[in-house]
Amino acid sequence: MTTMLFPRYREQQPGAGMAGTCPPATHEFLAHTSEMQLLVHAATFPELFAEAGHALGLLSLRDIPDVPTGEWREIEVESADRVALLVDWLNELIFLAETERWVGIEFEVRETGARWIIARARGVSVEEPPAVVKAATMHQARISHRDGAIEAEVLFDV
């Protein structure tokens, strides 16, 4: 079993994962005429999925403080392959944000393979998420290895 804490909280959780040896996972949103294109870099797949989830949380919360509260919750997703898994993982978080008014912000990926992920997360409960993300799409979705790191792109319909 692989346990990786989201890098942002690594200092608060010493001893977990691969802290200290790899650069922290990062994300940025690339220019797109109408939607939001997410680019994520991470050292491992668990970090990649955690960072992608965190980026989506920040996008959804806009200016609301992204301090997670409350209990951890379990999230499991299965899919056809790793790229589809990343898209399905993000769509699961979009579903939870819209139906439960809960925006995941801190992720601990407990297990992941090419077609499944088991994670737990803490988030922010909001009366109404400030930003509506309709879906994560398969458009140009990719996961690739580059310069010793993993790079992924996903386009959100917003």
Partner: protein, 480 residues
């Protein structure tokens, strides 16, 4: 005809407003790609990946004729926004990504009997009341939360379900595309997750570029057609732009996922996985079509519920003189099975609207003399247009037209250019009352982030896809 090389495709100018990428431009293309645009719009279109996306669509199984880009075309996901493609119903595919996540995102226009002078003193309070009465952003509508039985009736019946709640006037259904009830709908093909997302969203605008706008008819181009639509200079109108909300988003998510998994079974490989598709006649294709029709009915009902609220607000402020009649309601994200050239085709319009002419049997009886009303909203704060569909459009674009101005700038660049507060001040300086829950979203939807709607409309007018009837000037905007 002159030939030039643009992007990395050879492009032929068919007319000054129509360019063609031949089917030989890429080995996997099955049909040519045609784009309606003048030189200025073409330059903008070349600035993003619209053409790549349109060419990708031209590779899909069963595609016929040409694939078309409307003058408001811009980069989307899978299909470009502003794209039209028709597939043989017999052996062609249906693609959820070709419809988009916001199934039956669309526009409806209401006309009042008021003139500007009667509304102006109460404009601020009317816009304020609209913003308080119509949930926007991610807000739900507790006043219209549906049980599962009620929701399934909405998915099957569309706005007709709302009639028994007193939310539909007699002419409303006749002036809604397909009477707001697509017969292929099957609520059982809509997942429980989609129903969970949508059960409390009926009567809500949503976010992004959705809006309710109070307007005045400020220019008449075709007096006869305007009369046919019941429109005249100085008249107050209301334009509503929204779709199927989270329910439609989830239907698309569910079926992109399903089709992505079954494509190998049908021997389909694609240049972009978001184009995921299955033969229309396959079990998966039929299931998606039934679910899409149900989500479309939900969207028609959503715009009807908002219409009811708008009517209540106008009555509260202005009395019965403010009666609002529905001019028309059109979809612009939809796949429809239609007859073209004696063949049954599944026409995908993503960010494009129908523009049927006077002789088409689906044009409402009241508009047979003129053609179907084609509603083209501009960007926030700019004019919107009402056009009339033409019979010529049937052979030039599968009876399709543009759906708006079309984005020209990313949201982040729009926010960097000017702040939401600045945009608000500029609009208010022009006498436009604005209500928007987020300054950031206001900046994202700034007028300069869009193409010039007047130029877009002039192209479709010259190309004969639809003809200009009136222009509408915004007075008050409630942003989603």
């Amino acid at each position: 005809m002159s030939s030039t090389l643009t992007w990395h495709y050879p492009v032929t100018s068919v007319t000054p407003d129509l360019r063609e990428i031949p089917a030989s431009a890429r080995q996997d293309m099955r049909v040519p790609a045609r784009v309606y645009a003048d030189d200025t719009l073409w330059e903008q279109i070349e600035g993003d990946r619209s053409l790549d996306q349109l060419v990708n669509v031209a590779t899909l199984r069963g595609v016929t004729g040409c694939v078309y880009g409307m003058p408001d075309i811009h980069e989307g996901y899978g299909f470009p926004v502003g794209g039209v493609a028709a597939f043989r119903a017999s052996d062609g595919v249906i693609s959820p990504g070709g419809v988009g996540y916001d199934i039956n995102c669309g526009v409806r226009l209401l006309r009042s009997r008021l003139e500007l002078g009667a509304l102006q003193p109460k404009l601020e309070s009317v816009v304020h009341d609209l913003s308080r009465s119509i949930p926007s952003g991610s807000y739900r509508n507790p006043a219209l939360t549906l049980t599962i039985d009620d929701l399934e009736r909405v998915l099957t019946e569309g706005p007709a379900y709302l009639a028994e709640r007193g939310m539909v006037l007699p002419q409303d259904l006749a002036h809604t595309e397909a009477r707001g009830r697509l017969p292929g709908a099957d609520a059982a093909k809509v997942s429980a997750r989609a129903k969970q997302r949508g059960h409390d969203q009926l009567g809500t605008i949503g976010s992004g570029n959705h809006f309710v706008e109070v307007q005045v008819v400020d220019q008449v181009f075709d007096a006869g057609a305007a009369q046919g639509f019941g429109l005249q200079e100085g008249q107050i109108t209301v334009l509503i732009h929204t779709g199927s909300r989270g329910l439609g988003h989830q239907v698309c998510t569910d079926y992109v996922r399903l089709m992505d998994q079954v494509m190998p079974h049908y021997g389909i490989s694609l240049p972009d996985r978001q184009l995921a598709c299955a033969p229309l006649q396959s079990p998966e294709g039929q299931s998606y079509f039934a679910a899409m029709c149900a989500a479309a009915n939900f969207a028609f009902a959503n715009r009807q519920a908002i219409t009811h609220t708008v009517r209540e607000v106008f009555h509260r402020a202005l009395g019965r003189a403010a009666d609002l009649a529905l001019v028309y309601d059109v979809a612009h994200n939809m796949a429809k099975v239609e007859q073209h050239g004696g063949e049954q085709l599944c026409v995908h319009r993503k960010g494009a609207t129908r523009a049927f002419g006077p002789s088409h049997p689906e044009t409402p009886a009241a508009y047979r003399r003129v053609g179907q009303p084609v509603l083209i909203p501009g960007s926030m704060g700019t004019g919107s247009y009402v056009l009339a569909g033409t019979d010529e459009a049937m052979t030039r674009s599968f009876g399709s037209c543009c759906h708006g101005a079309g984005r020209a700038m990313s949201r982040s660049e729009a926010k960097r250019t000017r702040s939401g507060a600045e945009i608000r001040r500029e609009l208010e300086a022009r006498g436009i009352v604005v209500r928007c829950p987020s300054a950031g979203e206001l900046a994202e939807e700034a007028p300069y982030a869009y193409k010039d709607v007047e130029r877009v409309v002039d192209v479709v007018n010259r190309a004969g896809l639809a003809r200009k009837v009136v222009r509408l000037r915004p007075l008050g905007v409630i942003k989603g």
